[in-house]
Symmetry: T
Subunit: 167 residues, 12 copies
Amino acid sequence: MTKRASFTVPGLTEESGHHVAEALQLRLHALNDLHLTLKHAHWNVVGPTFISVHEMLDPQVDLVRGFVDELAERMATMGVSPNGLPGDLVAKRTWEDYSVDRADAQAHLSALDEVYNGVIEDHRAAIAKVGDVDPITEDLLIGQTAELEKFQWFIRSHLYDGQGNVK
Amino acid sequence: MTKRASFTVPGLTEESGHHVAEALQLRLHALNDLHLTLKHAHWNVVGPTFISVHEMLDPQVDLVRGFVDELAERMATMGVSPNGLPGDLVAKRTWEDYSVDRADAQAHLSALDEVYNGVIEDHRAAIAKVGDVDPITEDLLIGQTAELEKFQWFIRSHLYDGQGNVK
Amino acid sequence: MTKRASFTVPGLTEESGHHVAEALQLRLHALNDLHLTLKHAHWNVVGPTFISVHEMLDPQVDLVRGFVDELAERMATMGVSPNGLPGDLVAKRTWEDYSVDRADAQAHLSALDEVYNGVIEDHRAAIAKVGDVDPITEDLLIGQTAELEKFQWFIRSHLYDGQGNVK
Amino acid sequence: MTKRASFTVPGLTEESGHHVAEALQLRLHALNDLHLTLKHAHWNVVGPTFISVHEMLDPQVDLVRGFVDELAERMATMGVSPNGLPGDLVAKRTWEDYSVDRADAQAHLSALDEVYNGVIEDHRAAIAKVGDVDPITEDLLIGQTAELEKFQWFIRSHLYDGQGNVK
Amino acid sequence: MTKRASFTVPGLTEESGHHVAEALQLRLHALNDLHLTLKHAHWNVVGPTFISVHEMLDPQVDLVRGFVDELAERMATMGVSPNGLPGDLVAKRTWEDYSVDRADAQAHLSALDEVYNGVIEDHRAAIAKVGDVDPITEDLLIGQTAELEKFQWFIRSHLYDGQGNVK
Amino acid sequence: MTKRASFTVPGLTEESGHHVAEALQLRLHALNDLHLTLKHAHWNVVGPTFISVHEMLDPQVDLVRGFVDELAERMATMGVSPNGLPGDLVAKRTWEDYSVDRADAQAHLSALDEVYNGVIEDHRAAIAKVGDVDPITEDLLIGQTAELEKFQWFIRSHLYDGQGNVK
Amino acid sequence: MTKRASFTVPGLTEESGHHVAEALQLRLHALNDLHLTLKHAHWNVVGPTFISVHEMLDPQVDLVRGFVDELAERMATMGVSPNGLPGDLVAKRTWEDYSVDRADAQAHLSALDEVYNGVIEDHRAAIAKVGDVDPITEDLLIGQTAELEKFQWFIRSHLYDGQGNVK
Amino acid sequence: MTKRASFTVPGLTEESGHHVAEALQLRLHALNDLHLTLKHAHWNVVGPTFISVHEMLDPQVDLVRGFVDELAERMATMGVSPNGLPGDLVAKRTWEDYSVDRADAQAHLSALDEVYNGVIEDHRAAIAKVGDVDPITEDLLIGQTAELEKFQWFIRSHLYDGQGNVK
Amino acid sequence: MTKRASFTVPGLTEESGHHVAEALQLRLHALNDLHLTLKHAHWNVVGPTFISVHEMLDPQVDLVRGFVDELAERMATMGVSPNGLPGDLVAKRTWEDYSVDRADAQAHLSALDEVYNGVIEDHRAAIAKVGDVDPITEDLLIGQTAELEKFQWFIRSHLYDGQGNVK
Amino acid sequence: MTKRASFTVPGLTEESGHHVAEALQLRLHALNDLHLTLKHAHWNVVGPTFISVHEMLDPQVDLVRGFVDELAERMATMGVSPNGLPGDLVAKRTWEDYSVDRADAQAHLSALDEVYNGVIEDHRAAIAKVGDVDPITEDLLIGQTAELEKFQWFIRSHLYDGQGNVK
Amino acid sequence: MTKRASFTVPGLTEESGHHVAEALQLRLHALNDLHLTLKHAHWNVVGPTFISVHEMLDPQVDLVRGFVDELAERMATMGVSPNGLPGDLVAKRTWEDYSVDRADAQAHLSALDEVYNGVIEDHRAAIAKVGDVDPITEDLLIGQTAELEKFQWFIRSHLYDGQGNVK
Amino acid sequence: MTKRASFTVPGLTEESGHHVAEALQLRLHALNDLHLTLKHAHWNVVGPTFISVHEMLDPQVDLVRGFVDELAERMATMGVSPNGLPGDLVAKRTWEDYSVDRADAQAHLSALDEVYNGVIEDHRAAIAKVGDVDPITEDLLIGQTAELEKFQWFIRSHLYDGQGNVK
């Protein structure tokens, strides 16, 4: 079977529906990478605030895994086969593996703050891209971005210096 | 009492608020018809995959019944009395009763796929229509459409032929 | 496929089993009409006791929807295909749509009291009819009637005049 | 101690109470055999619909085990010691072990359909037998039969041929 | 207001409906007395099996309180005002207060066995009496009797002598 | 066995412990009467606010039944056998049966307001009486009184006239 | 530290992000005022429908408290420190304290209807204002407005006069 | 209607009951201020222990909101209308708004420690004041103070210097 | 199909995998017999400790039924069709039906102690037999044996004579 | 750090607060000893009522463990470091280890009755001691004593001789 | 920091502990790959049994994700930093991405059967390798293998041909 | 009664079964000491990470209490009376009371790390000792050790210095 099905959602042309769906593939890879990275940090963080950071990450892992499922099922709904495999992820992504192993909370949270900058910017770009064609997909991405931004606030709240700036 | 109340939601003119509300009446009839139809299929499907299709339909019935409630309460909120009665439904609808009785999964799922085509197209048309006036109602319809489209994907996933097309 | 299957429940003749099942079709239509009507009242009741009547109706809606399911699956069990569609309901029923839109609790509860009179009388007639042939179906109808009568007591309890009579 | 106690339920003579109770012993054996058989099928079914049939059987096992408990405790309540042991079951039953091992859903469901024919016919005969003496026991058996017949409908719904007959 | 309302359940004449309802008043008093008595025993039992008998009684208290509610609401449904007050109970009952205070399990369970004999016999008589007129009330009483008889079996199971007779 | 056991709680003399316990017997009767009365009102209230008053009473019934249990087990803990039987209640109480049958909410709530006046005043008198001897029992009665007073506020809140006085 | 952080959400300029956030401060104060006001009404409502109105308000209090949390955390996420204190609220708000103390449902619901008019109009204005810059914040406000409007429908449904107008 | 009702709890004179109730008004304002302040800190705390302090505050918010409800309903029960509005709070309180915005945990917890000093001292003073007149209200305030003191221990436990003193 | 499938678990030879699986068949029969026997005792125990022994047996029934399921699914996993039917059980077992009908707790618990001796010894023998070949199956049997031994301790704890020996 | 902190609860002098706290240390040791002892009895009781006594003890263990936590956190709240270690317990206690190993229920319950006599008397003495200074601590101890006394009633209820005295 | 910490679990030498931990890294990669692959199949399966296979995969995804967490935390516990990132996975693994996109259940289940062959064989090899050094890690791997093998039986049960062999 | 019963588990000789059981007594004392010590730390930890360490300890307390129960019931199952009393613990243990009172997280976690070294080494020694005789007991100890080691990793993760070593 081909990657593109013979249908898309009612009310869109097959071409524009498939176009929206394909725009979601890299978001899917980004979020698959994200939940693997969050788990990696969950295991490797050390230091005096270990337990609170360790526990803060797990609900976000669950949330991001749910977002991956939403994106993949939206792609399938719109008629394009989603790819959720690690080889394809690594081949297609435009970034490298997360660079921190065992390290304290400061190091992990700073690195994750960078990761979130990238994921959120790309999500906002995707919102702008699909919004004119498909309000359903736009709404799905808006909902995910809201939660990603809120969690980045959690991350940043740990990183303030004495002047109110993020270190 | 008249069908139109002496108010609508704050921030809209009474006229435009009532106009949006009235646009929801046929969506309400369509979804009332839909959950009755899904139950009808739930009872009449037969064949080797009986139990899995029988059980797949029930959560969708609950979901659609919830959508009916949302639409009707939105109409009332906007100042127009909703009608949820079968006589009015049959008098106003632009389609016929679902045509399948006892039949195998293939027959029911193909017929339901057609039903969903109609409901979703009309929902998308309503989104376009109300969006300029009332973002609250637009958002409600977007949320319903997302779920209807996802369930149609469930339906279609049963109907593939060997070449990746829906039969 | 025909409406009648090639079997009925063990211990009954196919003819008498199908006869019982067919007697349930109009009960099914009556209860489908009833839960749609209760929801309609749920949305359209107004006045000082709005919230308590609005909330009293919903559990009854759930109950009646469950009764519909019981009846339809009993028909199928006995070898006759049930019909749960609105067109068929309207074509076969011997009553009209509920006549009240937006109105106060008194008006809705009085109208619903009438609706329950009809549904319960017909249920009792069906009990008498099927009881000699099939105690299983009889028991199912008795259980439903008990709950319908109890809810009618709820309705009537709102309608007393000062002398202990229902208005 | 003897199998018969020195009492039965109030309102019945000891003789007629014990007579009803003893009529339940073979129903108890039949249902003990049934839940063992359903589990056996649960483990031995194979083929493309494995998972849905495998999972459909477990809730019925739980239900039938509950019915066994009801029957045995009713016997004890009426003053006769129930026997729930496999040796007694095999010695007293009038049927053989279920004949299917590893086989596809079609084979298991056809065989189970036969098993249900036997169990339900005998339950209906028991209803007729005890009904004149003890409405409590009659009601218990009616309730069990309703559920057994409903599950047989599940079984039969998998077995339709193209003409609406059970294969 | 008078004790009799201007209605009864649909399908019965007002006279026969009220007649059935009034037959339930003494059953209501009997069950109100029963749950008070079970609690009294719950507090006053002593001896080596205190905790298990103390705990065995509470679920039965809850059950019987629910039965009282069923009977009273059935009376109201059928158009007769139920009386649930202790003065009326004591004035109308045909039996005396339970005679045991602080005593061991044997004494309480023997006394309760007698109480159950009375309650169940009268319930069975009521079943016979209302059965011809109203199958709904009959079914309600059958269901209660089944549970009362089962609990009496619990009571009696504690009282066996070495020969299999109840002491 | 005698009503008084050979012990009381550690730290009190047997005489003063038994004295406190006996002071609870009439509180126990009062609360047993109260929950029976609340149920009676629950069944007999009619009129436009039927459902909200009907439902408001049930949680209070459960609460008061729990208070009865607390009092009776406190009596037993302190070494005096509690009496929870209706005959004893009626023989010992200083008040009559509640006087209202089927009536509207106003009538029931006014009558219940009077009932609560009596129960609470007597509870407060008991607090004063036992407080010097046993802070444990005092605390138990304070906790019960708090809840009884709160529910009386619920009752009274229905009875305001236009000037802020309770009718 | 200053009220404005050195960041905002990725994809927006710091200036426009902070601008959106600051637009939420008065919405936060409005909703903090609203849940305090709803609780005030919850305690002060009296009259024949006391219990149903009293209970209708509590779930809305919980909902509005959740909305306050959403708004404040969105402000922080976008880089502006939220203020949730009563002194600041009173200093900045453009309205007065709710004017009703102990009064009947009619008086409270009419006053609350006015309160909702204000809150909803301002929420709709904020939607329009932030929508061009930040779809995430827009979506958050749309979701809150939908619920506020639905609850206002509850309020208004109590206030109908005999002609279908809100009093 | 006046602020004072025509009743108080049974057993107290109207004057002394109203006197106790009025003593609770400022406690109500203090606790309303407290839960708003705790939420404010919840949003504005930053630094390495952000997540643990952020999460520690929320259950206390819920608890204090429950205490506010208790106090207000106790006032109403005793016959005085409670005021829960922010304007009245700010007009009547004897303290200023909490002084900290975005700051680290040390700054917030030190400031909250001061807030708790004030609230608890005033609660203890109220206990002493009402205890002679009304043990029910005294008990309510004791229960609240126990929880407030325990949470202050949580706060103080974060603030120790190396010598075992609170910084 | 044959009893042996064309596969076993990866990492074992087909022969040794099937050999392990077949060793489980008699354990399966033993545990099927055990849960039937425990239920039989549950119904037939009488005497002063009836209720506590009656209730102690039910959780063990559930546990043993779960063990049967584990064993049968392990056999299937390893490639051998499990047999769960009563005729096969009785034909293959090396023991007789449990010998006790209605009897007191002492008689039942002594008899069950003997039953557990047999089941546990055979389980331990099976552990020794399969341990060298398949650590997965060994671990499953160890887990079951731990629970069976713990329940036997429950049984034995009822049977002590005055010198610390089991009667 | 020293055992005494530089603070106590607001409203008490540091000296009197610490004095109250220190009075709780031996209560803490007593309750730590108690839950260890209850578990010891839970494992070592044997005889015909094994299962009911074994199960009666576990909820009390949980309760007493919660009481230990309350006392220790109250000490810390009042500014004194609590000690929960077994060496300190054994060094400071004024009693010996519980003297019973494997024995029947009569022996264990008699020994536990003695243990409760000691714990409760000392709790009542502590209530008297702290009550003048700190009503919060007094209330905590009253609540614990109520539950300890109730459980002692459970224990004593097993020990009655035929004349109503505890053996 | 280095990948190896300065400790391992007590009772093992640091060298042997680290050796065991490093043996788990490839198992971790294999299971991370497996849950991504199962989700991929979950989205891409089509055909008449879509819904049952789609739903069968999700609980296994959750299970395998839990196994990944167990392995990574065991590595960390034994003193070696785990790597959970996709780049490292792809660089180190000895197999390719799963080869199937949108396809029917037969194709996916056959491919997954192969995947499970590989994962389970390697798990069994790891069990053999670590068992002599560390029974804790051995036990963890045995528990995982049991579940993986059971799910492979689910997969294989769909693939039987008519002769009892897996296709 | 003697400490040793006249039985052990089936399949072991009485002597070797009792030998295994006695080897568990000191493990039982060690774990009883451990949960008391964890609670002690829970109350006495102070400093900036108070709340997260305070909360991290409680689930481990529950887990260890469960392990104590497992060990004691295993001893009883194998025929040796377990001792769970503090005097015996202190007399038999080979270590002293935990040495830290009020102190910061670093001090407590370092001290607990030492405690865990001792407990785990002794558990591993016990595994080696009992493994040859009784795989059931061995498996129980392996399961406990796995959890103890995992929690020690939590402890150690707080104690890293900048070079990846535990301080």
